[in-house]
C-alpha cells in the first residue's frame, strides 16, 4: 500500500506501463516468448540428438554405421546379430542378477537404518550420519585394490556373487541415506499414534511406516538399480572372460583398439538403454527430492 506513494516506484511506473496494453503479471512480450522457445529448443535438441543418433545408427548395416543418411538401408540385422551371435544375453543375465540382488539386499537392510536415523536420537547417530555421507564419496580407487585381493583370496573373482558384495559397498550407504530422506517426509504423528496404540518401535516401523514408505522404497531401489546398471570400474576390473562380463564390460568388447563393431554396439546399447530410461521416467520426479532432502536435513 505504501509502495504506491513510494517515489521510486512512481518514477519507474511510467517506463513499465509505456506499451499500449499493460501486461499482466507473468505475461511475456512476443519477443521474450520467441527467445525462450528458441533457447529451450536448442537445449532440447542438444540433449536428444546423441541418443537419437544412437537409435538411428543401430538400424543401419554395420558397414554404413557412419553414413549421414537417416535411414537408407533400414535393417534389424544388428539386433539379430547381437542377440543370437554374441554373448549379449549372458551379459544381460549377469547384469540383471548382480544388480537385482544388490538392490534387494541393499534396500532391505538399509530401510531400518534410515528409519532409526530419521526418528530417534541415539548415541552414535551423528557419527553414523557422517559415516553414511563419507562412504558415499569413497572413490573407487581406495577400495578397488583391497576388494580385488579379498575376492581373489575368497575365489570370488569372475563370480557374480563377488560383484554383488562389491556393489553393496555402493548401494548400502546410498540407500540408507535416501531412505532417511523419505522417512523424514512421513509425519512423526503416525509413529506416535502407533506407539499410543501399543506397538513397539519395530511394530510401528513394520506395520505403519513401511507400507507408507513403499513409493520411497521403490524409488530408492530403482535408483540403486540404475546406478549399478551403469557401473563400469569394478565390473571392468573384477570380471574377465567373455561369458562372465556384465553389460558395461561386455559393450566395451565391441569397440576397442582391435575391432569396431559399431552396429552391435549401438544395437545392444539401445536394448540396454530403453528399459533403464523408461524406469527412470517413472521415478525421476521423486528422485531429486529424495537426494537433496536426504542431504539437507541431517
Amino acid at each position: 500500500m505504501t509502495t504506491v506513494t513510494n517515489p521510486e516506484t512512481q518514477a519507474k511506473a511510467p517506463s513499465s506501463s509505456r506499451p499500449k496494453k499493460v501486461r499482466e503479471r507473468g505475461e511475456r512480450g512476443p519477443l521474450a516468448s520467441v527467445a525462450l522457445h528458441v533457447g529451450l529448443l536448442v537445449a532440447s535438441a542438444t540433449a536428444v540428438l546423441p541418443p537419437l543418433w544412437l537409435l538411428i545408427t543401430s538400424f543401419k548395416p554395420t558397414s554404413e554405421a557412419f553414413s549421414t543418411d537417416l535411414v537408407k538401408d533400414f535393417t534389424f540385422r544388428n539386433y539379430d546379430h547381437v542377440v543370437n551371435d554374441t554373448e549379449f544375453l549372458s551379459w544381460l543375465g549377469n547384469s540383471l542378477f548382480v544388480v537385482g540382488l544388490t538392490t534387494v539386499i541393499g534396500v532391505f537392510i538399509s530401510a531400518t537404518t534410515g528409519y532409526a536415523v530419521s526418528r530417534f536420537k541415539f548415541p552414535g547417530m551423528r557419527p553414523l550420519m557422517w559415516l553414511l555421507l563419507i562412504t558415499q564419496m569413497f572413490p573407487v580407487a581406495v577400495l578397488i585394490v583391497p576388494l580385488y585381493n579379498l575376492l581373489a583370496s575368497l575365489g570370488l573373482l569372475n563370480q557374480p556373487v563377488g560383484l554383488v558384495v562389491t556393489y553393496l559397498t555402493i548401494a548400502v550407504p546410498f540407500c540408507a541415506w535416501m531412505m532417511k530422506g523419505y522417512f523424514d517426509t512421513i509425519p512423526v504423528e503416525i509413529d506416535e499414534a502407533g506407539r499410543v496404540d501399543g506397538l513397539n518401535p519395530f511394530g510401528t516401523f513394520w506395520r505403519l511406516i513401511v507400507p507408507l514408505a513403499k513409493p520411497g522404497l521403490a524409488v530408492t531401489g530403482f535408483y540403486s538399480f540404475i546406478t549399478g546398471w551403469a557401473e563400469v570400474a569394478y565390473a571392468s576390473a573384477f570380471m574377465t572372460g567373455e561369458e562372465n562380463l556384465t553389460l558395461a564390460g561386455g559393450l566395451q568388447t565391441f569397440v576397442n583398439q582391435y575391432t569396431s563393431d559399431w552396429g552391435s554396439l549401438t544395437a545392444s546399447a539401445v536394448i540396454v538403454a530403453v528399459p533403464a530410461a523408461v524406469i527412470f521416467g517413472f521415478v525421476q520426479r521423486h528422485l531429486v527430492s529424495g537426494l537433496t532432502a536426504g542431504a539437507t536435513k541431517s
Binding site: V48, R119, I134, G281
Partner: protein, 336 residues
C-alpha cells in the same frame, strides 16, 4: 510441507534425546544400562548397516591403508596358481609410497587437471541447469515436452551415452566432423589431441550432468513462494533484480547441496574418462581416480601399493573439500 514435518520431527527427536542424555551425572553402570534400555531398538535397527559397512567397507579400507604402506605389487601378493599357493612376500616400507607420490610431478599434473575438470564441469552444468530451470519454471507451451527432452541424458545409462559420444566424436567418420566438413572446416581430432580431448570429456560430462542440476533447480524454484515475486514486482523490482534478490537466495540451500554432491561425483567420475579416452591421448585426460585404476589394473606389473596410496590421498582430498565447504556454508549461516 516437508520443512514442517522435519521441524516437528527435530523437536520430537530433540525431546527424546534430552530424555536419553539426561542422567549424564549418574554412575557409569546405571547410565550404560539406562541408555541401553532407551536406545536398544535404535541400535538394533542400525546394526545391519553398521555390520555391512564394517565388513565390506571397513575391512577393505583398513586393508587399503595398510597396503599403501607396503611395496605390494602383482608379483609379491598372496596368490594361487593352479594348485600352488604362493604366500605374500611384500614388506612394509612406511610412508615411502606417499612421499614418492607427492614428490612426483605426475601427481601434481593429474591433480591440477582433476581440479580444472571438476570446477569447469560443475560450474558449467550448474549454470546451464539454473538458466534452463528458470526458463522452464513458468507458463509455457510444451513445457513437459521440453522437460522430458532435457532430462533424457540422465535417463540413459552413462556408459551407453559415452559410447554414443565416441560414435559422434569419431575423427574420420563421426557426424560432428562430417558436419564441419560440410561447412568447409577441417576435421577436428576430438579425442586424439590433448587439448581437444580435454574439451571433449568436459563437454560429455556437462551433457550428462545438466539434467540433474535442472531437476534439482526446478524443485528449488518451486519451493520459493510466489508472493515474494508479487511483492517485489509491486515494489518495482525488474526481472534481474527479482532473480538476483529472490531466486538466488531462495535456491541457496538446494544449490549448496547439489554443488557438493556433484563436485564429489565429478571428482570421482570414472566412466566418462575411462570409456571415452582411456585417459589418453598419453595421460592428458587422466584424472586421479582413473590414474589410480591404471596403476593397479593396466600397467604391468600392477602396482597395488602405489594405487592404494593414490586412493588414500584422493579420499583425504575429498574429505577436506567436504569439510571446508561445509565450514564455508556454516559461516554464512547455512545449517545442514
Amino acid at each position: 510441507m516437508a520443512v514442517d514435518s522435519s521441524q516437528s520431527l527435530a523437536k520430537a527427536a530433540g525431546a527424546q534425546g534430552a530424555r536419553g542424555r539426561g542422567p549424564r551425572t549418574g554412575k557409569t553402570p546405571g547410565r550404560l544400562r539406562r541408555s541401553l534400555s532407551t536406545h536398544w531398538y535404535a541400535w538394533a535397527m542400525v546394526a545391519p548397516v553398521v555390520a555391512v559397512i564394517g565388513v565390506i567397507i571397513g575391512y577393505p579400507l583398513v586393508r587399503g591403508l595398510y597396503l599403501s604402506t607396503t611395496d605390494a605389487n602383482e608379483a609379491n601378493v598372496e596368490r594361487t596358481i593352479g594348485v600352488n599357493h604362493i604366500p605374500a612376500t611384500y614388506k612394509s616400507v612406511g610412508l615411502d609410497n606417499y612421499t614418492a607420490v607427492l614428490s612426483d610431478g605426475i601427481f601434481w599434473d593429474r591433480l591440477t587437471w582433476t581440479i580444472i575438470w571438476t570446477v569447469s564441469c560443475v560450474a558449467i552444468s550448474f549454470t546451464l541447469g539454473l538458466v534452463l530451470a528458470n526458463m522452464l519454471n513458468r507458463k509455457l507451451a510444451g513445457r513437459s515436452l521440453y522437460r522430458m527432452a532435457l532430462i533424457l541424458p540422465w535417463a540413459v545409462p552413462a556408459f551407453v551415452s559415452v559410447f554414443t559420444w565416441r560414435l559422434l566424436f569419431n575423427e574420420k567418420n563421426g557426424i560432428l566432423n562430417k558436419i564441419l566438413a560440410g561447412g568447409g572446416i577441417d576435421a577436428i581430432p576430438w579425442l586424439n589431441d590433448p587439448t581437444w580431448a580435454k574439451l571433449s570429456v568436459i563437454t560429455v560430462n556437462v551433457w550428462l550432468g545438466v539434467p540433474f542440476m535442472l531437476v534439482a533447480m526446478l524443485g528449488g524454484l518451486q519451493s520459493i513462494p510466489g508472493e515474494l515475486y508479487e511483492a517485489a514486482e509491486m515494489d518495482g523490482a525488474n526481472a534481474w533484480q527479482r532473480f538476483r534478490h529472490i531466486t538466488l537466495p531462495g535456491l541457496r540451500t538446494v544449490s549448496s547441496t547439489v554443488i557438493l554432491i556433484s563436485g564429489i561425483w565429478t571428482f570421482n567420475m570414472f566412466p566418462v574418462i575411462f570409456l571415452l579416452t582411456r585417459g589418453g591421448p598419453g595421460d592428458a585426460t587422466e584424472i586421479l581416480v582413473t590414474y589410480a585404476y591404471r596403476l593397479s589394473f593396466v600397467v604391468s606389473p600392477r602396482d597395488f601399493a602405489g594405487s592404494a596410496a593414490w586412493g588414500v590421498i584422493i579420499l583425504l582430498l575429498l574429505s577436506l573439500f567436504a569439510v571446508v565447504y561445509r565450514r564455508a556454508l556454516r559461516k554464512q549461516g547455512e545449517v545442514w
